[in-house]
């Protein structure tokens, strides 16, 4: 194969074959191909690649059996209905155990959080006071249930 054409590049020929050159350039290249063996051969090579590839694909593809496809379609629709029913009555559908497990874990942790550390009632239950001070007051704040023991030294 030896020398390349000095006028047009292989890429130009590639674009020519696809009719992707500007109109004027396209016609110039077309004219050029009549006299340049190299470019002409290149264009043929590029066209051959496409046609052989296309023919090969055409021979290789299998035909779809319409009856089989209809059956597959019907099956898909059936599966879809079963899935939605399972979701409606089963609520959770797939991975039901995992989902149940997650919900139960959240419930247990919530119970612990809200009951384990926070028994109802005031923050402190006063069991006994021993002092010489005349006045002692035990207060529980309304909002926070915070216990305050107040005494006056005077």
């Amino acid at each position: 194969m030896g020398k390349k054409c000095n006028v047009y590049t292989s890429e130009d020929i590639s674009r020519f074959v696809d009719k992707e050159l500007p109109k004027n350039t396209y016609h110039e290249v077309k004219q050029h191909l009549n006299i340049c063996l190299k470019c002409n051969q290149k264009a043929e090579e590029y066209r051959t690649l496409s046609s052989v590839f296309t023919d090969h694909a055409h021979q290789e593809i299998l035909k779809i059996d319409p009856a089989e496809l209809r059956h597959k379609l019907a099956q898909t629709q059936e599966n879809l209905e079963k899935k939605s029913l399972r979701n409606v009555f089963g609520i959770f559908g797939k991975n039901i155990y995992l989902k149940l497990a997650s919900i139960a874990a959240i419930l247990i942790i919530s119970l612990y959080t809200f009951q384990g550390d926070h028994p109802a009632g005031p923050s402190a239950i006063v069991k006994s006071i021993d002092t010489d001070f005349a006045s002692v007051v035990i207060i529980e704040t309304q909002k926070e249930n915070h216990t305050i023991i107040w005494f006056s030294e005077t």
Binding site: A105, I108, Y112, P119, D130, F133, I149, F151, E153
Partner: protein, 151 residues
Amino acid sequence: MIKFIKIILLFTGISYLCFFPQHAFAKNRILTNVKVIHASTGPQHVDPSLNKIISGLQSVFKYTSYRLIKDQQLNLGFKESGQVSLPGKRTLVVIPANMEGKRIRYQISIQKNRQSIFQTQVLLKNNSSITIGGPQFNNGVLLLNISGSVH
């Protein structure tokens, strides 16, 4: 089926850990925090570290200024005594005695010149606090906020 059994066992484990910590961890420490607050009718001020308790205090007291003058953490075992020195030659003594359900039984004593002037026994909710006041100090009073948590 095996997967389901594994999940049930996991739940049981989690439940045990959640609901039986006090019995399981009875030998653990009681983290006791003592905040010594100077409350007065001076210029408006609330120490940022008192944000959690200030609304409760303000609902009861008419003080305008709440300054934190001491913040001490004590890591005590049951029946172990912890002391915090207070202004005016006073001392606060706290002793976590034992657990009663989910509450910590504390013995709290305020001493002046080594003499007990105030004593109380309280059942403090875990991770909660009590405020005791108020010994007089510097044109105001001292409020002692004592909190405890089981570890």
